[in-house]
């Protein structure tokens, strides 16, 4: 004991840090990463590698040389963006397209706003949507690459996403599709949409570690289920059932990992519920009536932009007021 430290209370601090929270998100994404690499092989590894490496490198270069501030890559948030961006792309995406996505995600969506904590839009989704608009052909190329395992199972697959089929041919086009199959291995779509179970494992991990609160995710699911349920009850020949809508496309990936991004979602629980309902509604409107078969990304981006308003309207319940 040299000299006594004197500082104001509290004198203890939680062990949870920005870094540990972000690292937990990466851990929660691992099951989905492993499944996608196993089934999509080298091409998926390349997409993941390029995406993560460019996100981290770009953040390093921008914080160090452009902003000349503290370097923030140690907080793992760039890694999350890299992994999420990769999981949102088809495994066949060329490396340079991935790189452009990373430039947009980190360079434009994150850093121009001032970095972690300041950005209005989720960087990974912004990157993905930018690529979807700029390179529609690459972004909807669902040719199945050679995986490390399960090629016999997955080769039977036809080269379109379930939602794409429905968009063209109505609910009849996916008749007889096996839900058990979808739960474990949902072929066709972005790499991260492969296995609902892998994503749900990540969700449970995030909840157990208290990284996220469940309100946003659950309200998205509830809205999608109710909305599609109503249409399905009215016209089952035209519209697909709620379970199909929950398990297909990027709904799970988006609702668990991207809509719950701290920075771009509301602070309060009620704000989160409204945010989730909004995402669910917009997703279903795009799926049923829009030009794209899938709308989760657009829905999250649109709702990201109303977060400041939601934060203004919804506050925590105060004691004695």
């Amino acid at each position: 004991m040299e000299k006594l430290l004197v500082s104001p209370s509290p004198h203890l601090h939680t062990k949870t840090s920005t870094k540990s929270l972000m690292r937990d998100v990466v851990i929660a994404l691992l099951p989905a990463v492993v499944v996608s690499v196993l089934f999509y092989g080298w091409s998926e590894l390349l997409v993941l590698g390029v995406s993560v490496a460019s996100c981290v490198l770009l953040e390093y270069l921008i914080t160090k040389y452009l902003l000349k501030g503290t370097c923030t890559i140690g907080d793992w948030s760039a890694v999350i963006t890299g992994v999420l961006l990769a999981l949102n792309l088809p495994a066949t995406t060329p490396w340079w397209v991935v790189f452009i996505g990373a430039v947009f995600a980190i360079g434009v969506a994150k850093m121009t706003f001032g970095g972690l904590g300041q950005n209005l839009f989720n960087p990974a989704i912004a990157g993905r949507v930018f690529l979807l608009i700029s390179f529609p052909t690459y972004m909807t190329d669902w040719t199945k690459p050679q995986g490390f395992i399960g090629n016999a199972v997955t080769d039977a697959y036809t080269g379109a996403t379930p939602l794409g089929l429905v968009s063209e041919g109505g609910a009849g086009a996916v008749e007889g599709m096996d839900y058990m199959n979808m739960l474990f291995l949902n072929i066709g779509g972005s790499a991260g949409e492969l296995s609902a179970v892998a994503l749900l494992v990540g969700f449970v991990y995030l909840l157990a570690r208290k990284v996220i609160r469940p309100y946003i995710t659950l309200s998205i699911w509830a809205t999608v289920a109710v909305f599609s349920g109503i249409f399905w009850l009215i016209n089952p020949a035209e519209f697909t059932d709620p379970l199909f809508n929950l398990l297909t496309g990027g709904l799970l990936l988006g609702s668990i990992f991207m809509a719950t991004d701290y920075v771009t979602s509301p602070m309060s629980n009620w704000g989160g519920v409204v945010f989730g309902v909004g995402i669910g509604l917009i997703t279903m409107l795009i799926r049923y009536f829009g030009a794209y078969p899938e709308g989760v990304s657009f829905a999250i981006l649109i709702m990201n932009s109303v977060v400041p308003l939601l934060n203004k309207w919804f506050h925590t319940k105060k004691y004695g007021r």
Binding site: P8, S9, P10, H11, L12, H13, H315, T316, K318
Partner: protein, 451 residues
Amino acid sequence: MLKTFSIGGIHPNDSKISAGCAIEVLPLPSKVYISVAQHLGAPANPVVAVGDKVKAGQVIAEPAGFISAYVHSSVSGTVKSIGPRKDLAGNNMTHIEIDVEGDEWADGIDLSDTLVTAIPEDNKEILDKIKMCGVVGLGGATFPAHVKLCPPPGKKADCLILNGAECEPYLTSDYRIMLERSKEIVVGAAIMKQVLGGCPAVIGIEENKPEAIKVMTAAVAELQASAKGYDGISVMPLKKKYPQGGEKQLIDAVMKRQVKSMGLPIDVGAVVQNVATSLAVYEAVQKNMPLVTNVLTVTGDCLPMENQHNYKFRIGMPLSYIAEHAGGIPEEAAKIISGGPMMGKAIANLDAATVKGSSSLLYLTAAQTVRGVESACIRCGKCAEACPMGLEPFLLQKYARNNMTDELEENAVQDCIECGCCLYSCPANIPLLDIIRIAKGDVIRIIRTRK
């Protein structure tokens, strides 16, 4: 389901390392330094002069106003000096220095440990004794006890809540007195509830102290069976959650009522007193014993088990004397806290004297207490989730940094109870409470001048 408060709260490790250490009486030092500001409110006026002989329990300073308290000598001896001396924060305050000679007590004080269960009938006499004995709240705020026990006209107490939560990590002094002085505490509760007009009394204890719950429940049952005036007293186990012992939180947990902003507990019919205060009330009313002793925990993870203690000390003993007696200050200690690790004060001056409300000497290591480097707010909402007042600390700190006092008031910065849950929880190490505390002071000043 155990009861608890409804908004926010955190679960730090409770680290009650010294829970098993029975209360030991500290030997007398050669000198004590008794501060005239050991209570909330105006410092007391000394009524002795240098050279005076004093006895233990004799009044040496008188209250200087309605919210103030009597101060008594804790030892017998000679007044050596009266003048400024540094308190634990390093600020100068008038202290009365007394050279200890023998251990002679003032007349009329009952020093035996016979339990006196018969409660005096005259409430005025009771309140007088509480006041004359200098009893103040020992749960942290050191508010003069008799003031709280006289509800203002038009207000009535519906419930007396005894705070036995001891929700601060590490502290075990309340726990020990609940185990060792359970009946006295219950008698104190019965006295206070009689003064308040016979409302029920609830002793709230957190579930991590099952022994205390058991012993206190048994004490209540025994007194109810053997003496008069003990009906309507009960023990309520509470869930473990910090800050359960916060006055507003305890009222919410026990009575399901919430005190309005800037209001007082009595507005919702609640009077909250700490269990240690209840013991002091017992001593004052039944034994004529002024508040000159209290129990303090010496603890910390870096302290070997044999050096962990719960001490009964005389007020005015220097902290360094107690630390020395307990086996010295551990090498690894980087910060020493008086009070709990969440709301206690870091000690700047170990030569400072103990006061009525002293509750601990807590040694924290650098690894435990040095804050991480501040980084950007990631808007995780963990601070708001943790705030037991339902405030949004991330927002308040932003407004505070920009001096936006109107927004601060609108968002209830004045309701902050300085519990530290927000700062504790922030993964980005933002000094939320440091900033909010200053803003709160400013806003309260603005509200006051407006009135």
